[in-house]
């Protein structure tokens, strides 16, 4: 009896997790009239209308938004991994003056709410002529990812045996070569965690792109959705087709995500 109750509880929670996705998929396949007349139902009344996706993808320019999102996310990930593994390596391996100050200054950044610095950041980037550009979108996102990435990479590099470093020095390796050839490959699990977290973060980011970009050809996917939502006659079927296009790449990262999330989060909890 208890066994069944257990499963009933787990299934009910599972349904609440999945239902919004079902509704999104179902609505994306409805006709416009159907989506307005039967908004409560996740099932299309008529045969699934696949052409919604074609409409959103080509006519409403979602292919362009998709490309923009991919470019932004890729370079954010690349920048975060390269820049902050270097910092983590420096914090973890060397003894030098001012290290603690550097470390905690960067970690403290984490606590400044995003909207607080939005205004000057916007003015700053506009002065540099970076509005409506990929670089203008990418750089602040990399900087925003700094605290957690530095923390995780530093902690991870600390766990790698120091003897490895010493034997490499004896073999005549310089500190950069040791970083590049030994420590970076060993840090792949941590790099995976940070890459996926930042992929999701930058893919979903709307606040910053919305402010620095106003040209439609530079929109990212979330901005594309906002654009669909703001049109005078809202078509839920097209909005949901766009939402599905936005969510699918994230769902593809899903299999890698589970283990890495737990790993990444528990590195912190060991310390407390």
């Amino acid at each position: 009896m208890v066994k069944y109750l257990k499963h009933i509880l787990l299934v009910i929670y599972g349904v609440t997790c999945v239902y919004p996705f079902l509704w999104m998929i179902g609505t994306s396949l409805k006709t416009t009239q159907d989506s307005l007349a039967n908004p409560q139902s996740p099932f299309p009344k008529a045969a699934p209308l696949w052409s919604n996706f074609g409409e959103v993808w080509s006519k409403l320019n979602f292919y362009q938004f998709f490309v923009n999102s991919v470019v932004v996310s890729l370079f954010v990930i690349l920048g975060v991994v390269v820049i902050y593994t270097m910092m983590g390596y420096s914090f973890a391996k060397f003894r030098y003056k001012g290290k603690k100050i550097f470390y905690y200054t960067f970690i403290a950044l984490l606590l400044v709410p995003g909207v607080t610095t939005l205004i000057p950041l916007y003015i700053n980037m506009t002065n540099l002529g970076l509005q409506n550009s990929y670089i203008g979108m990418i750089l602040p996102m990399i900087n925003g990812a700094a605290p957690f990435a530095i923390f995780l990479f530093t902690s991870y590099f600390r766990t790698i045996s120091h003897e490895l470093y010493e034997s490499a020095v004896l073999d005549g390796c310089g500190s950069f070569k040791i970083y590049w050839r030994i420590y970076l490959p060993l840090a792949l699990p941590a790099i995976g965690t940070i890459a996926i977290l930042n992929f999701i973060g930058s893919w979903n980011n709307i606040l910053w792109p919305m402010i620095i970009v106003d040209k439609q050809s530079m929109f990212t996917l979330p901005m594309g959705l906002m654009y669909l939502d703001s049109s005078s006659f809202k078509k839920w079927n097209e909005l949901m087709a766009g939402a599905l296009i936005t969510v699918i790449p994230i769902l593809m990262a899903f299999p890698f995500m589970q283990k890495m999330y737990v790993k990444g989060m528990t590195v912190g909890s060991v310390k407390m």
Binding site: G14, M86, S90, Y96, M226, Q258
Partner: protein, 297 residues
């Protein structure tokens, strides 16, 4: 830990990150502190007027009653989101994690539960907006199971008495899985022989939980709670997408208030001042989170 022969080497590794921080971070943080003492509507900074603490008095002390009211209301909404989230998510995640433990098909359930956590973003907020519509799935569900008093004619997000509740519901939906999965990972990492050995020694079930399970779950709880509170005070996207802070400011949070003040009312100074005060308010939480980020350097 080593001292390098060339003492600049460690700094060279810091260089790219520091340069980016100087170019993007420091300037913005510094300028936004400065701005909070000015009256400025944008474009050319030579038109800005130094006003000392006027911005702060305007929204903190009631120099402008409407702005003051908006500010405290938004702050209260942030706090409510934090409180409801913690109070509901922690017990719910614990119960689900204990239930999930030793259940057949746990891996399958866990995969399903993970979905909201990674997908919760702009796209999903539009889905919720659709589900909360007056004729949407939520109202239909309540009607169907006969809980007519829960049916909100204007839709949950459309009426000022329930819009914040809608926001909280979606926050919980996106936040519960993360905590649940951390608890589950913690529970399954406990060596079962520990319990056996303790029971053999005559420990009661409550002792087992108090002495073995809880010490392990405590740090996880702390991290989860800090994350939730921190997240609640940085709420922006879901409110912005689903209600825009309305109707009538009923779901306004600090994030949307700052955004509106800066980019719609063009009052950059006031917006910066509000942003920094909210930063100080979260300062207490901030100190706790810094502690959890202490690395052994």
């Amino acid at each position: 830990m080593v001292t390098t022969k060339n003492k600049w080497v460690p700094y060279l590794f810091l260089l790219p990150g520091v340069l980016l921080f100087l170019g993007v971070g420091v300037y913005s943080v510094g300028f936004s502190i400065l701005l909070s003492f000015y009256n400025w509507s944008g474009i050319d900074f030579s038109t800005a007027r130094f006003e000392g603490l006027a911005n702060f008095r305007q929204f903190l002390l009631g120099d402008d009653p409407i702005v003051t009211q908006n500010f405290y209301k938004a702050l209260l909404h942030n706090a409510l989101i934090a409180v409801f989230q913690v109070v509901i998510v922690v017990p719910a995640a614990l119960v689900l994690a204990f239930t999930l433990q030793n259940t057949k098909m746990a891996a399958m359930y866990r995969t399903v539960y993970f979905l909201p956590m990674i997908a919760s973003g702009v796209a999903i907020f539009y889905v919720w907006k659709g589900l909360f519509e007056p004729a949407g799935a939520l109202n239909a569900l309540f009607q169907w199971i006969g809980l007519d008093f829960l049916v909100i004619p204007g839709g949950m997000l459309g009426s000022s008495s329930t819009s914040l509740m809608g926001i909280i519901l979606t926050t919980i939906w996106g936040g519960l899985p993360g905590t649940l999965i951390l608890y589950y990972a913690g529970l399954t990492s406990i060596d079962p022989t520990l319990y056996e050995a303790a029971s053999v020694d005559g420990a009661s079930k409550t002792t087992l939980i108090r002495k073995i399970t809880w010490p392990l779950l405590k740090p996880i709880t702390l991290i989860a709670v800090i994350q939730m509170i921190n997240g609640a005070f940085q709420t922006f996207e879901n409110v912005f997408i689903m209600t825009g802070g309305g109707p009538g400011g009923s779901s306004e949070v600090i994030g949307t208030l700052v955004y509106r003040t800066a980019f719609l009312d063009n009052d950059y100074g006031l917006a910066s001042a509000i942003g920094w005060v909210s930063f100080l308010v979260t300062g207490v939480i901030a100190i706790f989170s810094i502690r959890s980020f202490q690395a052994d350097i």
